[in-house]
Symmetry: none
Subunit: 197 residues, 4 copies
Amino acid sequence: MGSDKILENKRIKMTKLYDAAYDLFTSNGVRNTVIDDIVKSAGVAKGTFYLYCKDKYDLVDKIILKKSAAVLSSAMETVEQEEAAHHFDFQQCVACFVDYMIEYFKKDTKLLELIYKNLTFELYEKMMNYEEMDSAREAFISNFINTGVNNQTAQHRLYIIVSMVGAVCYNSLVLKVPYQIDAVKPELYHSIKRILS
Amino acid sequence: MGSDKILENKRIKMTKLYDAAYDLFTSNGVRNTVIDDIVKSAGVAKGTFYLYCKDKYDLVDKIILKKSAAVLSSAMETVEQEEAAHHFDFQQCVACFVDYMIEYFKKDTKLLELIYKNLTFELYEKMMNYEEMDSAREAFISNFINTGVNNQTAQHRLYIIVSMVGAVCYNSLVLKVPYQIDAVKPELYHSIKRILS
Amino acid sequence: MGSDKILENKRIKMTKLYDAAYDLFTSNGVRNTVIDDIVKSAGVAKGTFYLYCKDKYDLVDKIILKKSAAVLSSAMETVEQEEAAHHFDFQQCVACFVDYMIEYFKKDTKLLELIYKNLTFELYEKMMNYEEMDSAREAFISNFINTGVNNQTAQHRLYIIVSMVGAVCYNSLVLKVPYQIDAVKPELYHSIKRILS
Amino acid sequence: MGSDKILENKRIKMTKLYDAAYDLFTSNGVRNTVIDDIVKSAGVAKGTFYLYCKDKYDLVDKIILKKSAAVLSSAMETVEQEEAAHHFDFQQCVACFVDYMIEYFKKDTKLLELIYKNLTFELYEKMMNYEEMDSAREAFISNFINTGVNNQTAQHRLYIIVSMVGAVCYNSLVLKVPYQIDAVKPELYHSIKRILS
DNA sequence: CATGAATGAGACTTCATTCAT
DNA sequence: TATGAATGAAGTCTCATTCAT
């Protein structure tokens, strides 16, 4: 059917825009990227941009949402595989997850920067309503509760850990504080373990 | 002397610009503030702006640096006073410091947001070279070492704690994650204690 | 026959476009109405618009032409009925016609505005070539001549009266000059009478 | 003083913009004139345009206001001179005024078109608040009352005459109706006389 | 030093029109 | 015929920066 081809075409245009914008945003920063750069790089007309996005920052949001969900998904998948393969307990699962994240962002520092620098209240809310987010949190929380802590405490501790790991990654990888991520990693895992136990 | 008056005049202009810009940056965001807004609000001419700052982002950096140093100084002062008054041990000093910070940023969320959103590698480096920063770190590290951990570990753990507290504050106060800062505070202090011990 | 249905379909599309455009033009003005508004409001595709109209201004012209002819026709019909019913003389016929027009445009100020604001030389010429226009003019002129003035003078006076009434209506109803149409009506009729006699 | 030079410079820029825009608006129409045309023709930078005008239509309004006031002023001046020189009575003054207007707009049809096509309710209100407007109206009204009609009637009749003359001029000169202004002029003066007496 | 009018590059956005489906 | 995604020229407007006063 004809409409299939049209839909496929639309998908291609979107993808082109997303990919071009992602490259430009991470290479040159959002501020230094103008719509013209994006459309030229994507090989589409300027009007096409406005067919898919309200403005530059709308596209930033969309990209962050998409990329974050993808990273989270593959992290969770990895944890599940490892858990099944090595009969990981909860602490090991958390460590595995954290490790996946650190290793991922070591390779893609620019994405981490993009996410942090452009995370707003509104975007955060949207993120939290993503299915991937919710199921990931549920998985951890339920396992946490199994270790004996109450639900509320579990949620708070998990939140603290996520905040801590995120901040350490960001500081070490993006702000390039004197401490390299690999150097603080042992203490980071140590801290997680202490918080969890 | 005449040059005193000139210097005083310069200081006044500078302060006007800082104050006006700070209000605008925190109310409307850096992106939505243009030089014209700043000079109008400060009551100086546009050209005058360029006598004192390279551009908008230069002013942002200067404001963050100034405000951060002020907050840090008064935090350290408070800790010292409390330490002297109640014979605090190291853990209590850290808790006191963290508490001061949380309470401060609860009242001035916008400053926290300004700092986090505009912290760059370059600015971070400048911050670290500030005397206040250094003496504060030294104070904590030396105390930390007294508890028996080695220097390197002490530095890493302190770094993790600072990152953790900063991130939790930012998330709770700025991103307004589901967990209110007062609600997670107990677990935050618990986590700090566990990391320190 | 199939072609009947096709023609009927075309007529429906056309009508939808006319009606939607008329509403938008009169509500928001021609300048603030874009083709997209029209086709969305009409429920047809953008491409369809170009099957029926050259551009936005072509549609404006068509609408003005259609609406003007309709108003004029019903005005003339009314005059004829009243003339037959009450044995009106020429002055009474003119007054009746003017009254119909005023009352009509009082209820549909927006149409009056649309016509006046978008009346061009070209459109005016097309209007004058409409059968309704011509027969209306002929009717008045022949009656006018019967009152004793020569053809040329009759034409000029009629033209002056029509201009005057149109302008007074437009000024009072659209530009909302300090004088309300009902307040100036007596003087308007008085003026017409003086010009005619 | 230095500020004199600056003020003079500002006046020159404004005048350049007004003159360039007036020429373009009257030659090519408002719709077909873009800001770029205006600033290029005026020899100023694009930003300068926005220093003086909100947008294109704001400039149209300003030009109409300025030109209208100028025409009205010189018309009034002429009437006063003629009145003093030939001991004109009221009817003769009105005829003189109308004549001045007709002759003026015959030479500058484009200005008449610009005014009529772009006269809005808001602009009309502003015009009415102009001193020139008011004093001109007062002059006519007071003379009219001297002929014995009451104030209200005088105002309405004057309003009808102005509307009528304006419309006849516009139709004859801009819409180029079959009747040339010089051909209808006798009947126009006849009509005015009849309305006034 | 201080001013603020002028600049103009360049950002953003619209929208009439086309054309493959 | 009808569609509506895609186009990109053309437009509006902003705003950092300069420089004559």
